[in-house]
C-alpha cells in the first residue's frame, strides 16, 4: 500500500480541513489531493503563502494566470462595469504580486515525483536536498516551466487580462494561435471575454455567499444544491479556478472515491512493478507526447530530457485505467480527456473523473468495438432528423435517392451510418476537445457535468445548426454532385466548429434560446432514444448473422426477400420524440419578460 508521507502534508491538510469541516471524513482524500497536486504544488510554509494559492493546492490543477479580483461588491447588475474596471486596476497589483510569489514557490513537486515508483515511501522529513540528489526534484524543469508563467505574470501592466494578452499562450497554457484562429482574433475576443469572466465570477461568489458556502480561499469545494438558478450559472460558465472542484462536485466524485479509497494507489503499485506489462502500454506511450503538444504543461523544457510532470501523471493515469477497466483498456481520445482534466485537478481525481466519464457520461464509447460511438451517432442522427430537418435532408435523403432509386427502410441510417458521422464521432469520444476552441470546450464540460450527457447532443445540434448557416448552398444538381456535396459538408462541419472562439455564441445564442425546439431534449429523452437505437442495431446484427449462415445455400432471390423483410421489420418502428408543450414555452416567455422588467427597475 502506498503511503504518502504525512509530515509534509500535515501542515497543509490541517489547514484545509480547518476550512472545510465537512470533509473531515475524507481527510485522507484531501491529503492526497495536496500530495498529488500535479506538479504545481507549493511547499512553502502556509503562513507565507498568499491566500489564493491555497485554493489551487486543494483544487489540484495547474495554476492559471488568475485574472480575477476579490470584490465585496454585491451589486448584481451585469452592466455595472465601469466601477469594476477601477477595481481591476487595484486588483492587478495584488494579484500580480501573489501570482509572482506563488510562481516563485513552485518547484516542489516532489510528492508527485515520488509516485514514480520505487521511491514511494520516501519520507519528507528528509530535506529537499536529499530528494534532489535522489533525482526526484526536477528543479530545472519546473523552474523553466514556471518561467512561462513568470514571464506572463510579470507582464501585468494595466489590466488583469493583460497577463494573457501579452503572451502567446492562453490562461491554460495553450498556444493562442492555431490553424483556425490567429493570435489577433484571440486577443480581440479575450479583451471582452476576460471581462465577462470577471463579472461571472463575482456573481458566483455572491451566489455561494448567499447559500452560506465558504469561498474564502477562492477554492470552494461545495456548491449549492441543484436549481434553475445554479443551472443558469453553470451554463454561463464556472470560474476557471473553480472548475476542477465544481466538476468533481457535480459529477459526484467524492461518492465514488470514498468507495474506492486506496484503489488508485494499488493500481499504481501494480503498474510500477517492473514485471508489469500490458498490451496497452506501447500504445499509451505513443500518444503521451501527442497529447496537447501545443500546451506548455505538456512540453519538455529546453534543458531537460525528462518528461514534464503532467505527462508523467497522464502516463500513470492511462496505464492504471487500462488495468482498472480492461474492457476499455486504452482508447485514443482518452489521452485528451485526462490531459484536460489534469489542468484542473490532481492526479487521483483526474483518474476517477475518467472512470466517471467513461461509465456514466459516455458508456461504451471507448470500448474495444466502439459500439457506444455508433449508438451515440444513431441517437444524434435521430435528433437531427427530428430537430434539424433541413440539415437532415442534406446529409441523408440525397443519398437515398442516389442509391439506385431503391427506397430504403426508415432506419437504415442507424446501422449504415452516413459519412458525416465519422466527423461527429470524435465530438463524443473526446467530448469536444479539439473540436471547438478550448474555452468553448470547457464551457461545454461545465454543462456536461452538471446536466448530463444529453448536453453533448444539444451542443452537437447547436453546432450543426450554426454551421448550417455557413454551409455552401445546397445545389440540387445531378447525382454526380452528391458526392461532392458530401465532401463539402464534411469539410464545413469539420472546420466550422474550430472557429467558434466565443463560447457564448454557441451556448447563449444556440442552446439556451427559449424558442429553440431542441430545448425539449432532456436526459430522459436521450436515454429513451439510446435504448431504441441499441435495440434496432441489435436486431439488425442478429439478422445479418442469420443471413450470413444462410448465404451458403441461399439464392439471390432469398437475399432480396430478406432485404424486404429487414425493411419491413425496421420501418414499422420509427422513433417518436416527445413533443414539448407550447404552453410551457409561453409561460417561460412571460417569466423571462418579468425578469427583464424587474432587472431594469
Amino acid at each position: 500500500m502506498f503511503s504518502p508521507s504525512a509530515p509534509d502534508l500535515s501542515q497543509n491538510s490541517g489547514e484545509l480541513n480547518a476550512s472545510e469541516p465537512s470533509f473531515a471524513s475524507d481527510e485522507g482524500t484531501l491529503r492526497k489531493n495536496v500530495v498529488r497536486n500535479n506538479g504545481q504544488s507549493h511547499h512553502a510554509s502556509p503562513s507565507k503563502r498568499p491566500k489564493s494559492t491555497i485554493l489551487r493546492e486543494n483544487s489540484g490543477g495547474l495554476s492559471f494566470i488568475n485574472l480575477y479580483y476579490d470584490s465585496a461588491d454585491k451589486d448584481d447588475d451585469d452592466e455595472a462595469q465601469l466601477q469594476h474596471e477601477s477595481e481591476m486596476n487595484s486588483y492587478k497589483v495584488d494579484q500580480s504580486n501573489s501570482d509572482v510569489e506563488q510562481l516563485l514557490q513552485e518547484g516542489g513537486p516532489m510528492r508527485l515525483s515520488a509516485r514514480d515508483g520505487s521511491n514511494s515511501n520516501l519520507d519528507d522529513s528528509g530535506s529537499s536536498d536529499a530528494l534532489n540528489t535522489a533525482g526526484l526534484l526536477p528543479t530545472p524543469e519546473s523552474e523553466s516551466r514556471s518561467s512561462q508563467f513568470l514571464g506572463s505574470a510579470s507582464l501585468i501592466e494595466d489590466a488583469a487580462s493583460n497577463s494573457v494578452k501579452n503572451s502567446h499562450l492562453d490562461r491554460y497554457g495553450f498556444m493562442k494561435q492555431n490553424q483556425y484562429i490567429s493570435e489577433k482574433q484571440f486577443n480581440e475576443w479575450w479583451t471582452n471575454y476576460s471581462k465577462y469572466c470577471i463579472r461571472r465570477k463575482r456573481k458566483w461568489k455572491d451566489l455561494l455567499l448567499k447559500s452560506g458556502l465558504p469561498v474564502d480561499n477562492d477554492s470552494p469545494t461545495r456548491f449549492p444544491s441543484k436549481s434553475e438558478k445554479l443551472k443558469r450559472y453553470v451554463r454561463k460558465g464556472i470560474p476557471a479556478e473553480w472548475r476542477g472542484n465544481a466538476w468533481w462536485y457535480f459529477a459526484r466524485g467524492d461518492e465514488l472515491l470514498s468507495k474506492n479509497i486506496g484503489v488508485y494507489d494499488k493500481l499504481l503499485t501494480k503498474i510500477n512493478n517492473p514485471s508489469f506489462a500490458s498490451k496497452d502500454t506501447e500504445i499509451i506511450e505513443r500518444d503521451l507526447h501527442r497529447t496537447f503538444p501545443d500546451n506548455v504543461h505538456f512540453q519538455k523544457s529546453k534543458d531537460s530530457d525528462e518528461d514534464p510532470l503532467t505527462i508523467k501523471s497522464l502516463r500513470r493515469i492511462l496505464k492504471a485505467f487500462a488495468i482498472y477497466n480492461s474492457k476499455i483498456g486504452y482508447c485514443q481520445s482518452m489521452n485528451f480527456l485526462v490531459g484536460l482534466l489534469l489542468l484542473f485537478m490532481d492526479e487521483e481525481r483526474a483518474f476517477w473523473m475518467l472512470v466517471i466519464i467513461t461509465s456514466r457520461y459516455l458508456p461504451g464509447v471507448h470500448s474495444i468495438n466502439l459500439e457506444g460511438v455508433n449508438i451515440n451517432q444513431g441517437v444524434l442522427l435521430l435528433c437531427i432528423k427530428e430537430y434539424l430537418p433541413d440539415f437532415w435532408q442534406r446529409i441523408y435523403s440525397n443519398k437515398t435517392h442516389r442509391d439506385s432509386g431503391k427506397i430504403n427502410n426508415k432506419n437504415e441510417f442507424l446501422y449504415k451510418l452516413p459519412p458525416v458521422t465519422l466527423c461527429t464521432a470524435s465530438w463524443f469520444m473526446s467530448c469536444f476537445i479539439g473540436v471547438v476552441p478550448v474555452e468553448t470546450t470547457l464551457r461545454i464540460w461545465d454543462c456536461l457535468f452538471y446536466e448530463g450527457s444529453h448536453i453533448l447532443f444539444k451542443m452537437s445540434l447547436a453546432i450543426l445548426e450554426l454551421s448550417g448557416n455557413n454551409l455552401p448552398k445546397a445545389h440540387h444538381m445531378s447525382n454526380k454532385n452528391a458526392d461532392d456535396e458530401d465532401m463539402e459538408l464534411f469539410q464545413a462541419i469539420q472546420t466550422f466548429p474550430k472557429q467558434l472562439i466565443n463560447p457564448n455564441d454557441i451556448i447563449d445564442k444556440a442552446i439556451f434560446k427559449r424558442r429553440l425546439k431542441f430545448n425539449a431534449l432532456n436526459q430522459d429523452e436521450i436515454e429513451r432514444c439510446k435504448k431504441y437505437v441499441i435495440s434496432q442495431r441489435a436486431k439488425y446484427k442478429n439478422f445479418q448473422e442469420v443471413m450470413k449462415n444462410d448465404t451458403a445455400n441461399s439464392s439471390k432471390r432469398d437475399s432480396v426477400l430478406a432485404q424486404d423483410l429487414i425493411n419491413e421489420t425496421f420501418s414499422n418502428e420509427g422513433y417518436g420524440f416527445k413533443k414539448g408543450l407550447n404552453g410551457v414555452n409561453w409561460n417561460n416567455n412571460i417569466k423571462e419578460r418579468v425578469r427583464r422588467l424587474s432587472r431594469k427597475r
Binding site: I283, H289, R290, P293, N369, L370, A425, K480, N481
Partner: protein, 263 residues
C-alpha cells in the same frame, strides 16, 4: 522505436514562442487563410456557374485518397508536409477522421486530391471501412523505425482489398521516418519485397521531417491516376525517375537532403 515519439529532438515550436516572431507568423497565417479562401471561392464559382466538378473535359477531377497505418507512423505529418510544407515533432493524435483537400497542378493538368487522415489505433478500424469503400488511392504508411508498424500493413491492406477489391484501388506503401538512420528497423529492401508481395502499385520511403520524397510521393501517385494514364508525356521530375508504373525503386536515401533538411 522512433525518437520522435520519445521526443529527444528539440521541438521546432520553441521558436514560435519567442515574441519577435509574432509578425511573420501572423502574416503567414493570414496568407494561408487568404489562399484557403481563394481556393474555396474558385471552387464555389465553379459550382455556381454550374460546371460539373466531376466528369470529362477540362474540369477539376477529384480523387479520394485514404491514409491508413498504425498509430504514430506519421500519417498526419505526411499530409501536413504535403499541404503546408511544414513539420512538427509532435502532432496531436488524430481521433476519428480528418479531411483535407488540395488542388494539385501537374503537367498542365489540375486535379483535386481529397485526403482522408485516419486514427491509427486498432479499434478505430471498425469505423473506417466506409471511407475506404470509394477511395481511389489507399496509402498505407509504416514507420521504418518500428517493425510492428511494418508488420501491421498486411492487415490494413487486407481491409482495403476487402472493402474495395484489388482492382479498383491504387495501393501505395510508404515507409516514413527514413531520416532516423540509426533507429531503422526495417530495410528498404524489405519494404520493396513486401510491396511486391502485396501487389502495391508504388513503394516509397519518405521523411516528413526532412521533407524528403514527400512531393515525389504525391507526384508519383498523381501519375498513377487515370487522368495521367491516358497521356504519359512529360517526365515526373528531375530526380532519378522510373517511368514504369510498377514498383518504383528508391535507392539509398539522399544524404545531402537529409542533413540539410531539418525544416
Amino acid at each position: 522505436m522512433s525518437s520522435r515519439q520519445g521526443g529527444k529532438l528539440k521541438p521546432l515550436k520553441q521558436k514560435k514562442k519567442q515574441n519577435q516572431d509574432l509578425d511573420p507568423e501572423e502574416e503567414a497565417f493570414k496568407e494561408k487563410q487568404k489562399a484557403d479562401a481563394a481556393a474555396k471561392k474558385a471552387m464555389m464559382s465553379n459550382i455556381k456557374s454550374g460546371k460539373p466538378l466531376v466528369g470529362g473535359g477540362k474540369t477539376l477531377r477529384k480523387y479520394k485518397i485514404v491514409f491508413l497505418g498504425e498509430q504514430g507512423v506519421g500519417k498526419t505529418s505526411l499530409i501536413t508536409r504535403f499541404m503546408y510544407d511544414t513539420f512538427d515533432d509532435n502532432y496531436q493524435a488524430t481521433i476519428g477522421i480528418d479531411f483535407l483537400s488540395k488542388t494539385m497542378y501537374l503537367d498542365d493538368k489540375t486535379i483535386r486530391l481529397q485526403l482522408w487522415d485516419t486514427a491509427g489505433q486498432e479499434r478505430f478500424r471498425s469505423l473506417i471501412p466506409s471511407y475506404i469503400r470509394d477511395s481511389h488511392v489507399a496509402i498505407v504508411v509504416y514507420d521504418v523505425t518500428n517493425r510492428k508498424s511494418f508488420e501491421y500493413i498486411d492487415k490494413w491492406i487486407e481491409d482495403v482489398k476487402m472493402e474495395r477489391g484489388e482492382e479498383n484501388v491504387i495501393l501505395v506503401i510508404v515507409g516514413n521516418k527514413s531520416d532516423l538512420l540509426e533507429e531503422r528497423q526495417v530495410t528498404t529492401e524489405e519494404g520493396e519485397r513486401k510491396s511486391t508481395v502485396l501487389n502495391a502499385k508504388l513503394f516509397i520511403e519518405t521523411s516528413t521531417k526532412a521533407g524528403f520524397n514527400v512531393k515525389t510521393l504525391f507526384k508519383k501517385i498523381a501519375k498513377l491516376l487515370p487522368e495521367f494514364q491516358d497521356a504519359q508525356t512529360t517526365p515526373l521530375d528531375n530526380d532519378k525517375n522510373d517511368k514504369k508504373p510498377g514498383i518504383i525503386n528508391i535507392a539509398a536515401p539522399d544524404e545531402s537532403q537529409q542533413t540539410s533538411g531539418c525544416c
